[in-house]
Subunit: 204 residues, 2 copies
């Protein structure tokens, strides 16, 4: 299983944003929405072996986590507005505050209260990996050979120090996707490509 | 210089589409818009060494080509709606039919009539590369070492046979970004990452 955890420091946890101005009203949920497409969708299909967690740190009810499972999600469309609409409905209809475990709001889309700790409880013993510009190259990174891997990606403002420190304490390793600082969604694409290549090599 | 040419077989050449339903009304211009972000934007910046051509094969006035130059473009935002708004205005205000060379409609954004031939006339002697699932692996592909490279990417329906045949006749080589068929924008990201790595290696 491959899991991507996108940390949206100011991304709206309430669903209270405008679809006509996603970047301006959602705490840049648009970045996270693009990460979901990048992690879950291939040409004419969904990656059933991938799960995305969006950690929503902004607005009323924060923090909350929105989880999208490729194996169970239905009607995932690739464009930002369609995905944002799906997540807006899921956030608006899910109970706020009390939900300490993930409650499914739409097929394959679940919401829980809490932040990084909620994700850590859900990923179990997955190998933790931070995607950062300073880490060792993702090509050849041994940690990505783990059968269950959870890759953490910061939004446009990067990781907050407390979350980063917590993940390192838990044994997370740092890896880089290339020589330039990329958008979060592009980091997801490059890491996914590396995972695809390793899986294909194992099968061959 | 790196150039990406995205072939949108049914993408709207007129700008006559709804921003609230881009996938449903624009001939999937949403795919092409995401390719522009992937090719031109990095974290907090624009790639000044990249140019994107969108070949728009659908609707009134087709075919037309919309060209975005990283070195000259201003106010490029990463979200689909903002980019689609920019392109809608550029297409609507540019002369239709008569424009046989690129006319700038917005800073760094130019429109011309014509299809693949218009692009070929503009890219000069750039090395032509087709991104396809069946080609040799992009990692280690010698063609990507050319100082000026033009990478052609199909939309969600792939290349049309005539365009593919024409490019192969001109000496284009085929290359693959990995073991799975990806969205066009993800193919752009993986190829861009390979180009970034080679450039960093040359500089080191």
């Amino acid at each position: 299983m491959r899991r991507f955890v996108i940390l949206g420091r100011h991304a709206s946890a309430s669903g209270d944003f405008l679809l006509d101005d996603l970047p301006g009203t959602s705490g840049r949920l648009d970045v996270l929405v693009r990460c979901v497409r990048a992690a879950l969708l291939v040409s004419h299909g969904v990656r059933r072996d991938a799960i995305v967690y969006l950690v929503l740190g902004g607005g009323a009810g924060a923090p909350r986590v929105l989880r999208v499972e490729g194996s169970a999600a239905r009607y995932l469309r690739p464009d930002e507005r369609s995905l944002a609409t799906l997540f807006k409905k899921a956030l608006a209809t899910s109970p706020k505050g009390a939900a300490e475990s993930f409650a499914e709001a739409r097929p394959g889309v679940a919401v829980a209260s809490g932040g990084v700790e909620r994700v850590l409880a859900d990923v179990g013993r997955a190998q933790l990996v931070l995607l950062e510009t300073e880490g060792a190259d993702v090509r050849g990174q041994p940690a990505l050979d783990a059968p269950d891997v959870a890759l953490f990606v910061g939004d446009h403002t990067g990781f907050d120090a407390a979350a980063r420190s917590r993940l390192l304490d838990l044994g997370a390793c740092c890896t880089s996707v290339g020589p330039l600082a990329l958008h979060a969604e592009d980091a997801v694409v490059v890491a996914t490509n590396e995972l695809d290549r390793r899986e294909a090599a194992r099968r061959a």
